[in-house]
């Protein structure tokens, strides 16, 4: 894999360039999408539904929402584009011999680049306001690593499965829209009734979101049980995704 470092960099750069090539405002669109979602959800959930922020370190709904949107955007974008990565590059997979998981990895990283820019802006803002909880930083970094593992694991599994089963891309949209509302992004964990709390803790994305908020906003950090679950699930997902991909990769060129 080290041997392919340069290839990975080229693929990520190519992906970033392709997406904005030919558009007038180019890379600016990378900022429009998150800001648009931020504005819409703020109007609906804060101005209209008056979402109470219980147990969160901030009273600003926009700040609360944005901290939750950051990992979600990287996850959903990475997963959606990662699923298509093999089929979209069929011309390469069929004709050249190289580890094709690198294509999935490249779009996952490219999705992270977008999130990282948004994160940088938000981080600077919080730094000037002085709302960062530095004590939570190590856990946040761990959460970030697990976030990548979860994204990549699912993306690898779906990318390989998508080669054989083209229905997957339709199902993925449904699952992602459900997952968005089942993860405490637009609402705080404290609002979830006690009897459903286990579901939140079992969802690796909820824990990742909580870790982002704990560091950026000083919110209540997730429980140890939730952290252990996240670490276990992330490892399992990455392993299952990676092994399934390897197993299915042998048939890619015949199937595409």
């Amino acid at each position: 894999m080290i041997h392919y470092r340069f290839l990975l960099r080229e693929l990520v750069l190519r992906d970033l360039k392709v997406r904005y090539a030919g558009s007038l405002f180019g890379f600016l669109w990378a900022f429009v999408n998150p800001l648009w979602q931020l504005g819409l959800y703020s109007i609906v959930f804060s101005a209209i539904l008056r979402m109470p922020l219980i147990g969160e370190g901030t009273q600003s709904y926009s700040a609360f929402l944005f901290a939750g949107l950051l990992p979600w955007m990287a996850f959903s974008e990475g997963l959606q584009r990662g699923t298509l990565a093999i089929v979209e590059n069929a011309h390469l997979v069929k004709k050249l011999r190289f580890p094709s998981e690198i294509l999935v990895l490249a779009v996952t990283i490219s999705a992270l680049v977008h999130a990282a820019i948004a994160f940088g802006v938000f981080f600077t803002l919080r730094l000037t306001v002085g709302g960062l909880a530095w004590g939570q930083m190590p856990l946040f970094v761990a959460g970030f690593v697990f976030q990548i593992a979860v994204t990549l694991g699912f993306a690898l599994l779906l990318a390989a499965a998508y080669v054989y089963m083209r229905d997957i891309v339709h199902g993925l949209g449904l699952v992602l829209s459900a997952l968005f509302y089942l993860t405490p992004i637009v609402y705080p964990v404290a609002l979830v009734p006690e009897r459903f709390r286990w579901a939140v803790e079992a969802n690796p994305l909820s824990t990742v979101v909580s870790l982002y908020r704990a560091f950026l906003l000083g919110s209540q950090p997730p429980s140890t049980a939730a952290l252990v679950t996240l670490a276990t699930l992330a490892t399992v997902i990455l392993l299952v995704g990676g092994l399934s991909f390897r197993r299915l990769a042998g048939g890619f060129s015949d199937e595409l």
Partner: protein, 405 residues
């Protein structure tokens, strides 16, 4: 070095490839759930067996659908065998479809870098080779233009240039030369000859049978996924040709369908060398005729755009059925090609015609200095008519006598 010299570059043992054909998208899911097969199996390769030594060129020949491309894909490592063993030792570069890995929005140079990286080169290696790859492709300023602006010939040039300059130990070429202009075809051929001569291993698949003997010591003939013959190129090609001929005869199709009969006077071909006129000397008329044993002379006039260009002339004598009876190439050992002028008038002389009777056609060719690349070819119908007073069977006169034992 010597320890590895007897190690095969490519070794296939009982190599088999099956493709599964599913009737619909639901069939695969149903099969997976019920564990009962719901597909048809197409056997593209059936227990293929061969060994390729290091530094050897092997040609893969056969009809369409015989499994040539499947075999090349397996060796290139983009597809996996269903059963059997395949051993490949050495760094591979494969041209399975030229320019297929290019992105239209990126420049030639950007595509070059990505393609080379996909072939496994590091950044430093790519940086070192980039100028040579760009230069060989002769794209000029186009190398920094988006690939969507390229002609198909330009895409091919860049693809071939990359694949051959990433220092492969094993080069796999699938039908790549069928595209591109004559100049490029010759250039790529020269490159492949140089590659094999410098010790490279070449696995080459082509329908152009006259080409393969140049790069390939041995040929592998595939028929319906099985090895029909494997051995010295000349022998295997002869076997394959007679097989093709027999099939054509069975189909009752004219043997030389691909070559429409053209007039003896050449048209306005635009190659670097052009045949102008071919005519029989001493025999005026539409259908010149000879008697067995007479001398035959043909005058061939041709022109080149560059007087320095070395040219060999060739001719094929063919029967009415399309069988090549004899060939007359000027590219004999030690004979230099024609050069030094823009217009050549040369004479082919057959001192004594050994043919007994019948009507024969001739194909005249202008070739490069290796006798490989064809610049121009013309077909002369009813070029030689042989009339004999005797009643003889067969084509040729072989000296003989009967004596009392």
């Amino acid at each position: 070095m010597t320890a590895h010299s007897d190690l095969a570059a490519v070794a296939a043992h009982e190599l088999t490839k099956d493709y599964r054909l599913y009737p619909g998208p639901g069939a695969r899911l149903l099969e997976w759930v019920t564990r009962r097969p719901r597909h048809l199996v197409h056997r593209a390769l059936d227990r293929v067996e061969f060994r390729q030594r290091r530094g050897e060129g092997i040609a893969v020949i056969g009809e369409n659908g015989a499994g040539k491309s499947t075999l090349l894909k397996l060796v290139a490592g983009v597809s996996r065998p269903t059963s059997g063993r395949l051993e490949v030792n050495g760094r591979i570069s494969a041209i399975l479809e030229l320019g297929s890995g290019f992105h239209p929005e990126f420049t030639g140079r950007q595509n070059l870098r990505l393609n080379a990286a996909l072939l496994g080169l590091t950044e430093a290696e790519i940086r070192a080779r980039e100028p040579a790859i760009a230069a060989w492709s002769e794209l000029g300023d186009f190398i920094d233009r988006p690939v969507r602006e390229y002609s198909s010939g330009m895409v091919v040039r860049l693809g071939f240039s990359i694949a051959t300059q990433v220092d492969p130990e094993i080069l796999i070429v699938d039908e790549a030369l069928s595209v591109g202009d004559g100049y490029f075809q010759k250039k790529s051929m020269d490159r492949m000859v140089a590659f094999v001569e410098s010790g490279g291993t070449l696995l080459f698949c082509s329908h152009a049978l006259y080409l393969i003997s140049a790069f390939c010591e041995r040929a592998l003939w595939l028929r319906h996924g099985k090895v029909a013959a494997f051995g010295a190129t000349g022998e295997v090609v002869r076997e394959y040709e007679s097989y093709l001929l027999a099939r054509q005869r069975d189909a009752a199709a004219p043997a030389h369908e691909s070559e429409p009969p053209a007039a003896g006077v050449a048209g306005d071909a635009l190659g670097p060398a052009r045949l102008r006129t071919m005519r029989a000397l001493d025999r005026p008329g539409e259908r010149p005729s000879w008697r067995p044993g007479e001398a035959v002379r043909f005058e061939v006039v041709f022109e080149t755009d560059d007087p320095e260009r070395p040219i060999h002339v060739g001719a094929l004598l063919e029967s009415e059925e399309g069988t090549v009876v004899a060939s007359f190439g000027s590219n004999l050992p030690g004979v230099p090609p024609f050069a030094g002028r823009a217009r050549h008038e040369v004479i082919l002389e057959i001192p004594a015609l050994p043919l007994v009777k019948g009507s024969y056609n001739m194909t005249f060719l202008l070739l490069d200095e290796r006798g490989l690349h064809v610049y121009d070819r013309r077909y002369l119908r009813h070029a030689i008519l042989v009339e004999s007073g005797h009643f003889d069977s067969g084509f040729v006169h072989i000296p003989y006598r009967w004596t009392v034992a």
